[in-house]
């Protein structure tokens, strides 16, 4: 039986926020704890964009002077993800800080192996926040899991004085103060906030491109009230992230019935139990998207989702399943639309599912781009350059 998606969406198309459901604003607690000397609040710097969240609270999304809290999975296995975020920021003229004084949030390990505890997790988060504050830049979290987990940590620290005490003692040993950001901001929120500025710099037309969006579980399910919901996108019934940007660029975003399902990443599973991951990613996500929406590209906004949805297709293809659609972050898609080089910037050669038909449909000559990139590699091999630079990207 197929699910009558269109009929269901129609039923829900009228959007009204219920003021009764507006939960208490956590920021009141965050500032109260600052007054009590429990921590320093790192305030969202100007300029910022006010974004509507699930129950109506307005969230400040800072625009410039950002401290990029990188993602281990992005930098490690999908380098074009991080590179595209930086590249788009540079194109929009934003100053930023790409720190070495930053660790993984360690939440991947926390969810995968549980060889951690709430104090360790909170201390890692607070160490990174303190490191950001030292630089004067405001943290922007690249990974959906880091973002969701840091919000969990924030709730735990607000609720439990004994946890605050323990974490404060640990940080004191590192010579760091307790710092809590006024808002915990995901990079995709920045892309959503800047979608019109990004579209204004668009040089590649994506009008004919059909996308499906996989919203990342840890973005909108963990501490859900913090996620951006826009009444103009899906009638406010799903997070507006990714879809809002793709539509601003002119792509057609099509719905599919299993949008709420996770990607199958599983944290431990993607590393040591991939039969589950592969089955879920292909049978519950990719195949359903193909059948119901036939997309040119799957767009998502988290590390694990890009990896899972992209890498899981190869084995399924060998079994003759209905898969075969490129997967990338909306940051990479936006960068391509702004004219970024598919290899120097978007680093698509690290992806598995075939992205070339998409590039062709977008009018991007991937063969010429690949040849340019091969030349770059030769220059690197000959020792003419040590690394590829930002200037090389736009050469």
């Amino acid at each position: 039986m197929t699910i009558p998606v269109a009929a269901l969406l129609k039923k829900k198309e009228k959007f009204e926020r219920d003021p009764q459901r507006l939960p208490e604003d956590f920021r009141e607690e965050v500032f109260r704890l600052e007054e009590e000397g429990e921590w320093i609040v790192d305030r969202v710097p100007e300029p910022f964009v006010e974004a509507p969240t699930k129950y109506g609270r307005s969230k400040k999304v800072p625009i410039a002077n950002l401290w990029h809290h990188k993602s281990c999975g992005q930098c490690g296995h999908i380098p074009g993800y991080s590179t595209s975020i930086f590249w788009v920021m540079r194109k929009l003229g934003m100053d930023y800080n790409d720190p070495r004084d930053q660790t993984s949030c360690t939440a991947w390990n926390y969810y995968a192996s549980a060889t951690s505890n709430s104090a360790a997790q909170a201390a890692v988060a607070m160490r990174n926040f303190a490191a950001a504050k030292e630089t004067g830049y405001f943290p922007l979290i690249h990974c959906g899991t880091s973002y969701g987990h840091y919000k969990e940590v924030r709730e735990e620290l607000i609720l439990h004085p004994e946890l605050r005490r323990e974490v404060r003692d640990v940080l004191a040993k590192l010579g760091k103060p307790m710092v809590m950001p006024e808002e915990i901001v995901h990079y995709s929120e920045w892309f959503w906030a800047m979608r019109n500025e990004i579209a204004a710099k668009q040089v590649v037309n994506v009008d004919g491109i059909v996308a499906t969006v996989h919203p990342a579980c840890h973005y909108y399910k963990l501490v859900e009230g913090d996620a951006i919901y826009d009444p103009d996108v899906y009638g406010g019934q799903r997070t507006a992230i990714v879809t809002g940007l793709a539509e601003a660029l002119g792509a057609e975003v099509r719905s599919y019935s299993t949008w709420f399902d996770c990607c199958g990443f599983g944290f431990r599973h993607i590393l040591v139990q991939r039969d589950f991951t592969r089955s879920f990613a292909t049978m519950r996500k990719i195949e359903v998207m193909k059948e119901e929406a036939n997309p040119d590209v799957v767009l998502t906004h988290d590390t694990g989702c890009v990896t899972t949805l992209d890498k899981s297709q190869f084995a399924a293809q060998a079994h003759g399943r209905n898969v075969g659609v490129p997967v990338m972050s909306e940051a990479q898609f936006a960068a391509l639309a702004m004219g970024a080089h598919p290899y120097r910037v978007c680093q698509l050669h690290w992806h598995s599912a075939d992205y070339r038909p998409l590039l062709e449909k977008m009018g991007i000559d991937w063969e010429a781009a690949w040849a340019e990139f091969q030349e770059d590699l030769k220059r690197l091999e000959r020792g003419e350059i040590e690394f590829l630079s930002w200037e090389d990207c736009d050469a």
Partner: protein
């Protein structure tokens, strides 16, 4: 014949875990309940099954977040123990189940149960983390969870031929990424030494390192040695 509750559940012994005394099981359950997150994760259970409907792991395993929330809410010490030995590692930690109408967080309860399983060196924890401890080594020794050099075709044969391309060209391709922090191969980005040592101190001070010892004593020893050296180099006292 009336069907008893336990007949609907997995029979003990099937997975071959140790039968322990009721007191031991009770102590384990008390540890779960004593966790500071517990009261924020469980408010009782309607047994409505909404969490099961959205649960990815329930589709592929004999697994149910409802069964977990229900057992914990009913304080069924025997069943909770059985679930700690059999079920908890199947959860994907996606947190789809937090749409629970009772405001429970079944995935969170499972996380607390996993931590208790680790702290008590339970067989399920050791089995689930077999093959995973190299990842723990990675995060402890580099400050980042995964690294480009993990992309080896023999580790990811199901990810397609691109993995071999990456591993064949790794060093060169990393240098062909423009951000200065990303020219690394054994860590995701270039983490400063001092930062790494700070991470180690956090794990040491909060008892996370002791948890690793429960799962893999050898790994724990290697990490201790590695970090002792670094601490000494930096003149940091533990």
């Amino acid at each position: 014949m009336p069907v008893t509750g336990s007949a609907l559940l997995k029979a003990p012994g099937v997975a071959g875990f140790d039968e322990v005394s009721y007191e031991v099981k009770e102590r384990l359950f008390e540890q779960v309940k004593a966790d500071l997150r517990f009261e924020d994760y469980l408010y009782g259970c309607y047994e409505c099954g909404i969490c099961v409907a959205v649960c990815p792991s329930a589709r592929f395993y004999d697994f149910s977040p409802r069964r977990i929330a229900q057992a914990v809410a009913r304080e069924d010490v025997e069943l909770v123990y059985q679930q700690m030995e059999e079920d908890i590692w199947e959860c994907s930690q996606c947190f789809s189940c937090v749409r629970c109408p009772r405001a429970n967080n079944p995935g969170g309860i499972i996380l607390i149960m996993r931590e208790a399983a680790i702290n008590n060196g339970m067989a399920s924890a050791k089995e689930a983390l077999e093959g995973y401890t190299r990842i723990i080594y990675k995060i402890m020794s580099t400050g980042t969870q995964v690294s480009p050099d993990m992309l080896q075709p023999d580790a990811f044969p199901d990810w397609g031929p691109e993995v071999k391309d990456v591993s064949d060209n790794l060093e060169l391709w990393r240098r062909a990424t423009p951000p200065e922090t990303m020219h690394t191969t054994s860590m995701s980005w270039d983490v400063a030494d001092r930062t790494l040592v700070e991470l180690y101190l956090i794990w040491f001070e909060t008892g996370a390192l002791d948890m690793i010892k429960q799962v893999d004593e050898g790994l724990h020893m290697i990490l201790e040695e590695l970090m002792e050296e670094r601490l000494e180099e930096m003149g940091i006292q533990r």
